[in-house]
């Protein structure tokens, strides 16, 4: 397997003057050039701005100044985060040529930390989907098997890390959109507590669920990224004002001794829909936890597992139908000029949005309509409260909850694209976490025994603001499982690609 540098190693090597940020950036660009034609993870590459940033870091190092905790580290952004240097398409024709006049809060944070932005990554349109097949610009491919999907909606960011373009990336997670592709691509992906990372500059899908989070190949890199992006932001009314720790400390002092890790009782009754590889991987990881001194306990989350999915598919589309209403062809983005206002709206939205986005706008509009609001939206809000309560009770008797990230490893392209319900079911273990506003991460627990082995993720869930517990557990497990592997070039070349 190809050995690629972690963010930690890049920062250290840079400070030791073993290489320059410009060299690191060029090598990343080179890898994108060689592999991305087969993987389609990138929607734009910001070579010019990136090179300027890399040179600035090099000058900073030359002057002997502190270049920041992500100095010279190439990163990619999911294409729903605003960045002045490139279009922010959200994977949609609607915003194909729209370049924002401002940077997202996380972009400002990354740049301030010395990171070098390499480009923007492929995604399901407006973050709605679990495979990147709903990208208006074609799907990305899984680097472990290019005939398979990388997961989604942050599929491009997961691929960029798994294929070694960059050591770290940002995605957004509304119902599993970081964790599920992390699982499919065999890397770390974390969805932080709602309110930990500013959403300012993230194009909203479902505002009460959306959260930006990092991808990485090591727990230490995940912590390093989180420390940079997890800052209070007065420009986001939902950003928490609480002080953030330095997350690296949790990795450095990692231990599972005496920690209680819970399995979920209801999982036993869901075996029919679980792949044996997923079940086996979860058992293996729990066994490692036990060997590290953790106590395995059991909790019950019946409501979350039974009602999480329907609850999510009411609330998220409801918010999306409102958030996406602004794309009307009047001010910016895709527009069909017509003789009447109604025709302008209808043609712009009819042609600018893809099928999954339309499906969710229709669903969301329906559940908010007068006469249906109480039965759907209001009921779902009540269920959401019950789910929060259920998690709160569960965490009274454990420190972390372990669940599969997804019921199966990466599926084949085209397999579910016409079966939205099956596609939605891939998020059954991740959605409740967003509804409860909790932090969770997916780590690679192993590979399938297929001829082309596929990564299989395990999800750890913590109580609110429990990111340090997640990182600590991940760091302990990494001693056994090793850092996430970079997919071998051979696997990419061997596939049919796209």
């Amino acid at each position: 397997m190809d050995r690629m540098l972690s963010a930690d190693e890049i920062v250290r090597g840079l400070l030791a003057k073993e290489f320059s940020a410009a060299e690191v950036f060029r090598s990343s660009l080179e890898r994108v050039r060689r592999m991305d034609p087969a993987l389609s993870a990138m929607l734009s590459v910001t070579e010019e701005a990136g090179m300027a940033a890399a040179r600035a870091v090099d000058e900073c190092v030359a002057r002997g100044e502190d270049p920041g905790p992500l100095a010279g580290v190439p990163v990619v952004l999911k294409d729903n985060m605003c960045y002045r240097a490139a279009p922010t398409t959200c994977g949609s024709r609607m915003l194909e040529r729209w370049t924002p006049p401002y940077d997202a809060a996380v972009v400002t944070a990354l740049e301030g930390a010395g990171a070098v932005i390499l480009g923007k990554t492929n995604m399901d349109e407006f973050a709605m989907g679990g495979s990147t097949e709903y990208s208006a610009f074609g799907p990305a491919s899984n680097p472990w098997d290019p005939d398979r999907v990388p997961g989604g909606s942050s599929g491009g960011s997961a691929v960029a890390v798994a294929a070694g373009y960059v050591p770290v990336a940002l995605g957004s997670d509304t119902g599993g959109s970081i964790r599920q592709p992390a699982s499919y691509c065999g890397v770390y992906g974390m969805k932080p507590t709602y309110g930990l990372v500013s959403r300012r500059g993230l194009v909203a899908f479902a505002s009460s669920l959306d959260q930006i989070g990092p991808f990485a190949r090591t727990a230490a890199d995940l912590a390093r990224m989180l420390s940079v992006i997890a800052a209070p932001d007065p420009g986001d009314g939902t950003s928490s004002r609480r002080a953030r720790p330095e997350y690296g400390a949790a990795v450095a002092s990692a231990s599972l001794k005496g920690r209680k890790i819970a399995v979920v009782r209801e999982l036993a009754g869901m075996k029919a829909s679980l792949s044996p590889d997923v079940e086996g991987t979860l058992a293996r990881v729990l066994d490692l936890c036990r060997r590290e001194g953790a106590e395995i306990v059991e909790v019950s989350l019946p409501r979350s597992l039974e009602f999480g999915l329907p609850c999510y598919y009411i609330l998220a589309p409801a918010e999306a139908s409102s958030n996406l209403a602004r794309f009307d062809g009047v001010r910016y983005g895709f527009s069909r000029k017509e003789r009447t206002l109604k025709a302008l709206y209808e043609r712009t939205r009819g042609e600018g949005f893809g099928p999954e986005v339309k499906r969710r706008i229709l669903t969301g509009t329906y559940v908010l309509s007068s006469g249906y609001y109480d039965a759907y939206y209001l009921t779902a809000q009540k269920v959401r409260q019950l789910m929060k309560e259920e998690f709160r009770k569960a965490f009274a008797s454990c420190d972390l909850i372990a669940l599969p990230t997804a019921p199966t490893p990466a599926f084949r392209k085209g397999e579910l694209v016409d079966d939205p319900i099956q596609m939605y079911l891939a998020d059954i273990f991740t959605l409740p976490v967003n509804l409860a506003g909790l932090p969770a991460l997916s780590l690679n627990g192993g590979f399938t025994a297929d001829a082309r082995p596929l990564p299989v993720g395990v999800q750890l869930i913590a109580p609110q603001w429990g990111e340090e517990g997640l990182l600590s557990a991940a760091a302990v497990l990494e001693r056994h499982l090793g850092p996430a592997s970079v997919a071998p070039m051979a696997a990419v070349k061997g596939g049919d690609g796209r």
């Binding site: 924002p100 007065p234 986001d236 009314g237 409801a318 509009t365």
Partner: protein, 496 residues
Amino acid sequence: MNAVYMPVIGLEVHVQLATASKIFCSCSTDSMGAEPNRNVCPVCLGLPGTLPVMNEHALRLGIRAGLALSCAIRDRTIFHRKNYFYPDLPKAYQISQYDLPLAEGGEIVITGDDGAPKRIRITRLHLEEDAGKLVHSAADGRLEGAERSFVDYNRGGVPLAEIVSEPDMSSPREAREYVQTLRRLVRYLGVSDGDMEKGSLRVDANISLKKVDGATGDLLFWGERSEVKNMNSLRAVERALAYEIERQRILMERGGTPERETRHWNDGAGVTTAMRSKEAANDYRYFPDPDLPPMLVTEAMEERERRALPEMPWKKAERFTEQYGLPAADVEVLVESLPLADYFEACVAAGASPLRASNWVRVEVFRVMNERKLPADAFPVAALSLGRLVAMVDEKKLSTTVAREVFDAMAGGKSLDEALKGAGAAQGGIASEALEGIIRAVVAQNPDVLDEIRSGKDGSGKKRKFLTGLVMKETRGQADGKQVQAILDSVLGELL
């Protein structure tokens, strides 16, 4: 049977809150004379990825207005999204409040049609953002048939308080009175400039007619209500409602039934026209805005606004009547504007008699304000100076004519002392030696008149009066007439 038609009127008043910046971003709210789309930013344009952040000042003003209307203030209140498509609404939803408004259940007292005080119940006060403004190229300024349309988002995101009354008004006059009372109140509170022409106070009226048996008072029929929009002045409110009452009455008398609809007041034509019927109205799909956390109104915040409440205009009116003994008409004018009322009181405090001070304020001060289009709180003459001037008139140290001249000079930027000097008057009037000098000079300059008096042709005293007039003119009216008479007599006595 004799049927009587009784109007039932409720008003929704949108008041622009007097904040420097918009409700969810830092853009200026002052767009008078600004180029279109100048006071805008990514947030109020609703660009993808932007988030609203609540302007705390708007919340404070909302609380203040709610308290002044005797409403209960909700300690936890939230914003909803009101979803509909229109080009003046950049996010395709308006951030507003729905079932958990900031303030509820208040009242305001107006003078009813019978002259007695009448309570108008306030249903609620809620906060929301304003939309942008559409400009159509069609001849009638409407969207239909317009060749091109333009949109100006300067107004988009400006904070509004919507104040909804119960349908407690029974005539266009009462409606007008209500709007006037409310406007005065928000101005007193510093919550809004309340300027209807500028659109910072906008009125929508809901009006229906009850058909009642004139003899028994039994309700025979209650028509659907129409909502009348686009009334841009107090007069327009009164006229539009009068028109609408007639329209509905005639319709009902002819056996028709008013529909529930929205109607547009056309001020030029003096008619209302149908805009859209409520049945086909939008389903706004209200739901709590997930971008904005609940607003918590603490005891301390409420207390702070309660303390910021000024003396209410109706209380002030009572006090002015009792304390100063002013006639009702004076009180009404003075109390209409808080700066003016304060100005008047400062004049009195400086020594002016209340009645004369009131006259001066209502006549001279108003004249200069109107001529120069000045607001009362930017009036160039300090109340202390005017008060002292009026006191001099009270004490007969100055004639009204000279006082006016002094006042005009002060309005032109002079201090009281400068103005008095410029008018040839010193505080305390003219010394008799100086007056004698002036009289001698006048007599010396008019030898022919003196000759005529000498020759005994002034039996009627006309010539003396003529000389007195000249002296008064010379002394700019500040000399005492009797004193002039006495000195003139003695001077003439010497010369004759």
